[in-house]
Symmetry: C2
Subunit: 433 residues, 2 copies
């Protein structure tokens, strides 16, 4: 083999960066046989080069605290951005692209919130901006949407995209834990951050969904417009009741093409906890695993399942992108032959259609069921199933599963119940897939 190695600058030497360095060594022969050349790390950008660190950089690799040592070195072909966050990462990638470097990143927040400008710059410069590791860890969904689904119209896309939330919900389900207990356990095991906001409030899944929408539909969906609801404070009781209907509750990121009332194609998307039938493959995604289900006009239903995080699974995804750079793949980074993507035509959130799980806490008095049913009938919401549980004293929980209706109708019926003073606690309402 005579080809020159691909020389990379690695920004960030934490869990994933360390995993990448390890993989580059462990899989060196494989990489050579696949890419036809070696991949070598020339420099690693860290905050403090003097800080003692558990990981030893490979020989011939130099630590630096200066981003310019990556962006301005003409020997460096590609930059791997694993520092995370928005500002510094953006500056590094921007500068790297300006200097003609290919970029591989796992930074979903940056790409989802400010990616359009970066993608445009990359396309214009015919540089690769690859991000397989940014979505669903080891599950190769980026590549799949970009290449394998190129002959398919994606009807819908549904994912369990946040391992931390899925771990918490799994523990609540199988061990009957309360949310706070399960969260604490996830934090102790290192699955959740000290500040778990990004994960449990749905923002991490939202970032990933924005990227999937880009790849599946070739549109840019404004992050700020995406409806996002996380799992914080989700009640153990609802998990238990969902189970009685044969469902689990999962944090779902969904996008689908729908017709609006005037028949135009619109994109309906959001992140929300939802009831998923236990017998579906999606209902069997447990612990820190991620999964994506696609419905496509030729393929029908496709399902992908794998580890959503972790040093090596994520580093393996980064490495596949580096091999693609080493091989000299084409640079249509979103899978569409366009320099920039149009903005998504978004369905108004209230127009979204779904079945709903509704738990109401009411006073056990004559006529209350009639009044609740009336509030739903007034909005044309029809009930598919109901469970009435015995409550404490004369306060009883009532659970309904509705037929498909709009979010607006559901919201207005709950408002009617509240306005009529029927509820002794706020209603709990989740979508049913």
């Amino acid at each position: 083999m005579t080809a020159e190695p691909l020389v990379i600058g690695l920004a960030g030497f934490g869990t994933v960066g360390g995993g990448l360095v390890r993989l580059l060594e462990e899989n060196a022969e494989l990489i050579r046989s696949r890419a036809g050349r070696d991949i070598v790390v020339k420099r690693i950008l860290v905050r403090d080069t003097a800080k003692p660190r558990p990981l030893v950089p490979p020989s011939n690799t130099e630590l630096t605290a200066d981003p310019a040592a990556l962006t301005d070195d003409p020997q460096i072909d590609a930059i791997v951005e694993l520092i995370g966050g928005i500002r510094q990462a953006r500056a590094l990638i921007d500068k790297g692209l300006d200097k003609g470097k290919h970029i591989v990143t796992a930074n979903k927040a940056l790409l989802a919130e400010q990616g359009s400008a970066l993608f445009e710059k990359a396309e214009t410069s015919k540089l690769m901006l690859r991000f397989e590791a940014a979505v669903a860890g080891a599950v190769p969904i980026v590549q799949t949407l970009k290449e394998s689904m190129s002959g398919n119209r994606i009807i819908s896309l549904l994912g369990i995209l946040n391992g931390t939330s899925n771990y918490i919900l799994s523990e609540m389900t199988s061990n009957g834990l309360d949310f706070e207990v399960a969260l604490k356990q996830a934090q102790e095991l290192g699955y959740a951050e000290a500040d778990p906001t990004l994960d449990i409030d749905g923002y991490d899944a939202a970032h990933k969904l924005i990227l999937l929408i880009r790849l599946a539909y070739g549109v840019s969906y404004p992050y700020a417009d995406l409806p996002v609801r996380g799992i914080r404070g989700l009640a153990a009781m609802d998990i238990k009741l969902a189970g009685e209907f044969g469902y689990s509750i999962k944090l779902i990121g969904e996008a689908r093409e729908v017709r609006d009332i005037s028949g135009r194609t619109r994109l309906e998307a959001g992140v929300f906890p939802a009831l998923v039938l236990n017998r579906y493959l999606l209902g069997k995604v447990n612990g820190v695993y991620n999964a994506v289900r696609l419905e496509a006009n030729a393929a029908g239903s496709l399902f992908f399942h794998g580890r959503g995080a972790g040093a090596l699974p994520t580093a393996g995804a980064v490495l596949s992108d580096l091999v693609a750079v080493a091989r000299g793949e084409r640079a249509d980074n979103s899978g569409f032959a366009r320099l920039s993507l149009p903005e998504a035509a978004v369905l108004p959130q209230d127009d979204g259609r779904s079945s709903f799980y509704v738990r109401l806490t009411v006073e056990d008095r004559p006529g209350v069921l009639r009044d609740l049913a009336g509030a739903m009938a007034a909005e044309a919401v029809s009930v598919a199933q109901m469970i009435q549980k015995s409550g404490q004293g004369n306060i009883v929980p009532l659970v309904f599963m509705t037929h498909e209706t709009t979010s607006r109708a559901m919201k207005y019926s709950l408002q009617r119940m509240t306005d009529a003073g029927l509820l002794t606690e706020p209603a709990v309402c989740y979508r049913v897939l």
Copy 2:
């Protein structure tokens, strides 16, 4: 858009060919946005152009019975081979490559049995020879192994690769049907051919496995050397008994890297019916679906599930290859930077290790269990679980699940039982995953 269209010659206008023509029309706008150009069918090769056919070719598309009208037309950029079989398809592809055409094919038999020469010719001529549709229908496992897993060493690969067999086994399992009844039903529904040999005797799965091995390990595995056992005549009783242990029986194609007794890395591969735990995702693959599970050194476990056959699912896979051709992807068709692949270092079949399900039919007489146990102990096969069922008269079925052992030890213990006259019927033995 000013780019010239990609002009294709389509060989074969049956189910999949018809599906492709339909998709090219239905998804035309999508294809244009993804590939940056149109894909047009200039000619369709059929056996008899005069034959009345249900499908109308698109306007500006000409039917021909002459392969040279595809291979020798300088306007044609790529040939889609969907005629199947070996001889004619090989001649067409050979000639097409000679004439500088890219090839897209769904022909697993040809590629598995005679692919090496074709791949070499394609690599040498820097032409694409793509075959996403040849393995697992709509499941994008070819692309995944070629691109997404390029940073991962594949430890093992396990697939349900034949939809017909899986349909038959699913029907036997859920409806308690006998093999012959389920086969007949599959034939009536069009899931099985009048001559079902390729499907139920495991050869179709074997063809696909050979291709997966090429992509996962970068080696050429001689088709004639692959151990293949199908599901023909599999007894309803074994499906029922497996169920009592919590397992389903699936037709599995497997390849994995193992160490031989002298510590060298060897490839163990084969197609065989095996017991799969019902709670595994693989145990939930039912009907005509296909699935692949990968174990990789960085990613850990990955699972892919989708339709294994059908006009549109297969045509969608063909189309993704065509979009790749239209985009001008690189032509490393096996995912390795080599003109030809080395031959696989194959583990002798008898050295393979597994747990086994063994059903023995014996006379119900004192000492028989001791003698059976003795035959196993003599080969160091140890028993994990046993069920004794009441039989007819004094003939009883005994079922053992063994601990992991070699195929050789298992075979020799059964031979010992036979030699000692312990069995009133031949032993039934399946691997347990």
